[in-house]
């Protein structure tokens, strides 16, 4: 049986459901991401697992035992919040030691474990500082150390990177993943950022309107979206309605068609005549908007040499890899 098993979980606020019939299995040591737009219920699901929000019905089994009736104190779950939630009146060391103090761990053992946890997040030199003397990234690392020091059975991360700036975010996310691997910690990470989800996770649960729409590894989610929402949320898919799709492919298409921008090749000697409408340079990638058979397509081209640059209005041609076409419901 799975390490974490959520069964038919249901939750509503004031009569309107936040989520219903949530079922998912998580293996020991897995890094799982709940991905979805704001308001899809992912944070509420996380809070229900932590015990901070009561559920209406259903079970959450952790290591074979239903934790729904247990208080958050008893669940042995660590959590990191978007707002850091460090205790402002305590130093870094006291913050990290708080959980051990509540567990009445002896002084010398507590000290050793606090030091070890701070070592893990590379903040040993900051033990005597107060949270207001730290940067956002440092605060979040303290929060991480604080939740790790009690050796939780499950680690929950509620958009821990959302309040940080881009460079720190990238660094910290690699650090989180490295620590998670090192400790073999089963982790559930909540985010609305697809890039974070794709780079970090063993598996992703894509959520929308209180349902898990699709689950699988990053590869599956990226290349094989199950529906329109999944295709729209992950990647920058070209989503064509049946009319446009039929016109583009010159054969009848019944459903909607999703084409990844990087599966289209742009050149001078391709299959279909096209014209560049506009382009923007994203760094290593150039994103073109091209017009093909009165259909506008987004095409991503790797920026390798000046030959990859085409001016707006230029006549080009495109080839579409048939295996990259996906019809979605």
């Amino acid at each position: 049986m799975s390490y974490v098993s959520v069964r038919n979980l249901q939750k509503s606020y004031a009569g309107s459901p936040v989520f219903s019939q949530i079922d998912c299995q998580i293996e020991r040591g897995e890094f799982i991401t709940l991905l979805g737009p704001s308001g899809c219920g992912k944070s509420t699901l996380l809070r229900c697992i932590a015990g901070l929000t009561p559920v209406d019905s259903g079970q959450i089994l952790l290591d074979g035992i239903d934790i729904v009736p247990q208080s958050p104190q008893k669940r042995g779950i660590g959590m990191v919040f978007q707002s850091y939630a460090l205790f402002p009146n305590m130093t870094v060391e006291q913050n990290v030691a708080f959980g051990l103090r509540m567990q009445k761990v002896r002084g010398d053992e507590s000290q050793a474990r606090v030091r070890e946890a701070l070592q893990l997040v590379e903040l040993n030199d900051f033990a005597a500082r107060y949270p207001h003397q730290l940067s956002g990234g440092q605060c979040q690392r303290v929060a991480l150390a604080r939740s790790l020091v009690t050796r939780p059975r499950l680690l929950l991360l509620d958009e821990p990177l959302s309040a940080l700036d881009a460079r720190i975010r990238k660094h910290l996310r690699e650090q989180i993943r490295a620590i998670q691997r090192e400790l073999g910690l089963t982790t559930i990470f909540v985010t609305h950022d697809q890039e974070e989800a794709l780079t970090l996770s063993d598996r992703i649960f894509l959520m929308n309107q209180g349902r898990i729409v699709q689950s699988g590894d990053a590869e599956t989610l990226y290349t094989a979206p199950v529906d329109l929402f999944a295709a729209g949320f992950i990647g920058n898919y070209n989503l064509l309605d049946a009319d446009s799709a039929s016109r583009l492919l010159q054969r009848p298409v019944t459903g909607r068609l999703a084409i990844r921008p990087e599966s289209i090749t742009l050149g001078l000697h391709g299959e279909l005549d096209a014209q560049v409408r506009s382009h923007s340079l994203l760094g290593n990638v150039i994103r073109y908007r091209v017009q093909v058979r009165e259909v506008e397509l987004v095409v991503d081209v790797l920026n390798r040499s000046p030959a990859d640059l085409h001016a707006d209005g230029q006549r080009v041609s495109v080839s579409i890899d048939p295996s990259a076409l996906r019809e979605v419901a």
């Binding site: 009146n89 567990q103 009690t150």
Partner: protein
């Protein structure tokens, strides 16, 4: 936002000093009067003395009134801390929607003029099972309602600044009970707001006259009532009283500020 740093700076400073001087003048006059041997027909007092202060601080009736004022204020503030802190906690943690209602409720003591509510209180507590008029108890209860808005607003601001919910959640997940979380994590972070609220309420209540005079009067004389009753005695003596009162509040504020600063 300074258009002309040089000329403007001089002008702004002059305005501030002038304002300061105008505000300080009556106080300085009172101070001088309290130190004067006599000051009637001349521009400046004829001599300086501390005898009015000596007389004041050896007057048993004054000391009693001072102590009683202190007791009533501290009593009322203790009551408000004991009642309002848990109330605020419950409102903000469990029923955030009630905050709007509370904001209306806490203004009520200010909406009714003191003279009007005194009459009501005299009716209610003058006789019957809860007859308290003339005792310090009614003052403590009444002062509690006056302190309520100060306390509620100041601590609410503080609570909103610390992200109460996340702190409570984090503490509980780390194994703290609700009580432990409230005492170890939330309360220490409310020190600043609480200090501000207490100081503000204290200086207000310490100088309160209308309720004290109407509800209790000479039966439990507070400082302001005593001052009023002394209005026909020597002006020098009364000036010494006012200055002593003022100095006390000033020192208290300063000490509280110092205590507050050191601990962060």
């Amino acid at each position: 936002m300074r258009a002309d740093p040089k000329g403007g700076g001089w002008y702004h400073r002059a305005v501030v000093y002038l304002l300061f001087l105008i505000l300080l003048m009556p106080l300085a006059g009172t101070l001088l009067y309290s130190l004067a041997t006599s000051w009637s027909a001349t521009l400046l007092p004829s001599g300086l003395t501390l005898k009015w202060y000596v007389a004041l601080w050896s007057e048993p009736r004054f000391l009693a009134a001072f102590g009683q004022s202190l007791l009533v204020c501290v009593g009322a503030l203790l009551l408000s801390v004991v009642l309002i802190l848990p109330l605020l906690f419950v409102v903000h943690y469990h029923f955030p929607r009630l905050d709007a209602l509370m904001n209306v409720l806490i203004l009520l003591p200010f909406a009714v003029p003191p003279v009007v509510s005194s009459v009501g209180l005299l009716q209610l507590y003058g006789s019957g099972p809860m007859a308290m008029v003339g005792t310090p108890w009614i003052l403590i209860g009444c002062y509690f309602t006056i302190a309520l808005p100060f306390m509620y607003r100041a601590i609410t601001n503080n609570l909103q600044a610390i992200n109460l919910r996340d702190l409570m959640d984090a503490a509980q997940l780390l194994g703290a009970s609700t009580w432990q979380a409230a005492l170890l994590v939330v309360l220490p972070n409310l020190r600043k707001g609480l200090m501000v609220a207490l100081l503000l309420s204290f200086s207000f209540l310490f100088g309160e006259f209308v309720f004290a005079n109407l509800l209790v009067g000479t039966r439990y004389e507070t400082l302001q009532v005593y001052l009023n009753n002394m209005r026909n005695s020597s002006g020098h003596f009364n000036s010494a009283l006012v200055i002593s009162y003022f100095a006390f509040v000033l020192i208290l504020t300063w000490v509280a500020n110092r205590l507050n600063k050191d601990k962060t």
